[in-house]
Amino acid sequence: MDSKGSACSNPNPNPTFGPSKLMLAFRFLRALSIVHRTTPASSPTCRGRRIERAAYASMAYSAGTSRAWSRAVLRRLHHRARRRAVAPRRLSTTAGNRAEALRRLVPGGAGMDYCTLLEETADYTKCLSMQVELMQGIVDSASSNGR
């Protein structure tokens, strides 16, 4: 019988369901430890921002390059854009401008056709909520002890 349990050979065993929670946790915790080691304790705000970037980075790495939103996040991170958040541009009429607000929220949303946008939104939303769950879990377990 097939052992469905061995996910190690395939880094993304459920391509339709997004990254596994375990991989997400592993990446994020590793990123957290890097932030911890490399950010001076004297700048908690800077550290907070770096943790936030680590959150989106580990989300995107876990999703891989098969998703347009994760590619967009990774592009943005690698270019280390100093600019403020993307200024909303006029969308070309070929892409249409249905769901403009959504296009601004989903990374890479501006150039997508409507159908792709909806698919990407679903995946992005799922990954984002998993990331939030993960971070909340870490905060909870770190806070609930030592009463």
Binding site: A41, R49, A55, L105, G146
Partner: protein, 85 residues
């Protein structure tokens, strides 16, 4: 993969939109399948924005927790072991 430039069926769009609806937390869903596409997209936007805010807030809290790592509290030990894993 990306869809063709020719018209995608309304059926497919509706399917994708109801999938989005199923991703919304209970409190944000408008009971049943009667909500209009526009409302659902708006709710999805609100949901994504709130998730972004949560990431922001939790990042701050994690940063504060890191500050305790240099202490010898029990909390610090938990964090240290989490960071080592």
């Amino acid at each position: 993969m990306s869809s063709r430039r020719s018209r995608v069926s309304e059926e497919e769009i509706n399917e994708l939109i109801s999938k989005l609806q199923s991703l919304l937390p209970e409190a944000r869903r408008r009971g049943g399948g009667r909500a209009s596409a526009a409302k659902l997209l708006k709710e999805t936007c609100n949901y994504i924005r709130s998730l972004n805010r949560e990431v922001d807030d939790l990042s701050g809290r994690l940063s504060a927790l890191m500050a305790t790592v240099d202490n010898n509290s029990a909390e610090a030990e938990i964090i240290r072991s989490l960071l080592r894993s």
